[in-house]
Symmetry: C2
Subunit: 428 residues, 2 copies
């Protein structure tokens, strides 16, 4: 197959005509498709419906420590939920707090707490002239939005399949005391699908950061979200690595069951060193009466333990994998070997990260939109929503049925090709 | 009956001996009682158990607007929950946001938002040299703790049965731009049981505050928590009053079902002017994916509407009233006419507010503790935990069974009498 970059102008002009025709045909179909957000599908949500039968009016609603979970009390979550969610994160229950349904909210509150009160006695970040935060890109738009709302200066760190560029991370974190943290999605990163390498994790844990209250925000959102349970990817335990390196307090880990049970009604959790946990609870005791313990117990009784949760995740994989296969097959077939794009082949998570020719991402998203396909906005995976190369697009195939994903990808690949040809003609 | 204050020294010495003997007998019983926190009893929590049967694996989990409530989405809560909780607060659904299980957390976040970002474009409170907050006393310790954590200067405002001293409130709020808000529990206030009078509400709503971003924090925690449904107390609708007075944005109203369904697993809500709601949602969209919508639907389907909720509250009243009757009967019998104490006769809510002789509250609480009865710490109902008169004690009879409340009050009244006699002898 001839690469577009090697075509003559005449060949490109001809190709453009063909693609415009194909695009028009797509448009005429009046499609209404959406692969913009990492939402689970109805079929996936159905998997957790039996959880609603677990607690009834006849159930014993005491936690294993005897607490009546219907009443006030137990700020850090019920013991059995701390065990379950701790196991999910490789953390001891005593190092684990279980919250309500939104891990994003937990992360937001963790940042807000540092801004308002500092961390373990450090100066509140609000009283500093400037706070900088490291943002591996492409990354999760909602992470970046949180730190943007607080007025931090966001610093993009390029990533590859092993995680963020550690030379650059160390350069910032170990030399500049205004750099206070880094966002990480270590397993099946959003959207790149990267799984941090052993070396990446060890280097992160080993950093002698310039700021004493620097924290790694380790959002382990997809820890057991493998697409193929015969080929699971894992990362070293960040809590253990930080402890080994003599920096036990440097990391906050987060997770949730949003993509395990119900996206809107799961439970979230956080783990960290005991000193961190104590620091956090001392503030939380003023903030809240604690999270919904009935939903915590519902989750524990449904899964019983981490193995039960993993078994459940295999059912998710069976629903998700065919959708990812469609995306990758269409990309490989329609765009492979043309020299105009690259994409990852994720082993888990919720996204395929697509890189078109420089300067075409916005155009591709616009073309798709016009023909009835909603994509995540170009640039969304970058701080301030600005992809300097205007190249990256996040593809989220989980929500629609596989047939719709196929239709969406037919349109998408036409648009990607058309935008590339336009760009090449423009450049001449 | 002779007042203690009219007794001779010899009479007091004799009385003291009797009371010490009675106290010692109490002590010898090895009691283990607790009337310290406003927690519902098991019997009350049992009332909501059928709610757990409402949603099962066979239920349709779509909101009335068609949203799949299991998934992400709908930041402000499902429409039917906004209607139900709005009705509870006398607010339109469009003016109402429904949250998770903790209204304290909602209030905390509301303060935090003002500190971090300001209100509707005002200067963030963190950037001001000083923020002052009005605290009607006696009041709710957890309210005061929130504003204390943020470093505000807390100003005590005396209250009577009609609510806070409005001359003083106006003096502060209308003249000092550093005064940014006031905590109010307008119905069956914690712990005084006051129900704000029409005049109080109208004067609050009519204030021309010095700070443009002054807010009334209207914690309507006990709106339908009557002890006797034949004698309900109500207050004017604060949202309407503020609008009428030309200050539609001046109030944030809060409520929850913590003392309607499950203390630890209810739903909370907030209402305010549409401009306020927009302001809040514009921040919340960065903070969270929204609250647990399944629990919202569970509540709506259980109660159907506000009438259903009120019917349910009558069952609570039937459990609570006998306990309050015991408290008041014991106080009236044992302490009435002795000139050493006063207390309110609440028509609803969770507390009886007791005022002993000046300088005896700590002593009473200490005597009770020593003999096996836990009370809320003396001074807890005042900013910084300091009751300048050392007189107020909050009695919370809801949690233990009525027989235990009776035992607790036997001990309590002996301690109150003993402390008074000690004080009188001390003064001579």
């Amino acid at each position: 197959m001839k690469k577009y970059t090697e075509m003559t102008r005449d060949e490109l002009v001809l190709l453009k005509k063909d693609l415009e025709k194909a695009y028009q045909e797509q448009k005429d179909q009046g499609l209404k498709l959406d692969i913009s957000r990492g939402k689970p599908s109805s079929a996936q949500l159905d998997l957790a419906m039996p959880m609603l039968d677990i607690l009834t009016s006849g159930s014993d609603l005491h936690a294993e420590d005897g607490t009546d979970i219907r009443n006030y009390g137990i700020l850090a979550g019920i013991p059995e939920a701390r065990k379950l969610m701790g196991d999910l994160m490789g953390a001891d229950p005593s190092q684990t707090i279980v919250f309500g349904n939104s891990s994003l909210n937990v992360m937001y509150d963790t940042i807000a707490r540092a801004v308002l009160f500092g961390i373990m006695g450090s100066r509140p970040w609000k009283d500093l002239p400037r706070v900088k935060f490291l943002c591996p890109v492409p990354g999760y738009d909602r992470h970046f939005a949180v730190t943007e709302q607080f007025g931090f200066e966001l610093i993009s760190i390029p990533t590859d399949d092993n995680g963020p560029d550690m030379d650059l991370v160390e350069e910032y974190a170990c030399k500049d005391p205004e750099v206070k943290g880094i966002w990480c999605v270590p397993v099946y990163s959003n959207p790149g699908g990267a799984v941090y390498s052993k070396e990446t994790v060890e280097r992160l844990a080993g950093m002698k950061t310039a700021a004493e209250d620097f924290r790694i925000f380790w959002d382990n959102a997809y820890a057991i979200h493998h697409l193929d349970y015969d080929h699971q990817r894992q990362v070293p335990n960040i809590l253990e690595e930080c402890e080994k390196a003599g920096h036990p307090d440097m990391v906050y880990q987060f997770c949730s069951t949003s993509k395990i049970t119900f996206a809107g009604a799961g439970i979230a959790a956080m783990s960290a060193s005991r000193a961190n946990i104590e620091d956090i609870l001392s503030r939380m005791t003023i903030q809240t009466i604690g999270a919904d313990k009935i939903n915590q117990l519902r989750h524990v009784r449904f899964f019983k333990n981490l193995d039960g949760m993993k078994e459940h995740m295999k059912k998710h994989a069976a629903i998700l994998k065919p959708k990812f296969d469609v995306v990758l097959q269409k990309l490989d077939t329609e765009l492979g070997g043309r020299g105009i794009a690259s994409w990852n082949h994720p082993m888990g998570g919720y996204f395929v990260s697509f890189n078109g020719m420089e300067g075409t991402a916005k155009r591709i998203v616009g073309l798709c939109r016009e023909a009835g396909l909603v994509l995540t906005g170009a640039g969304a995976a970058y701080p301030y929503g600005k992809d300097p190369a205007d190249s990256n697009i996040r593809i989220a195939p989980s929500l629609p049925p596989a047939e719709e994903v196929a239709l969406a990808m037919d349109l998408f690949t036409i648009c990607a090709r058309l935008a590339a040809v336009e760009k090449l003609l423009d450049q001449e």
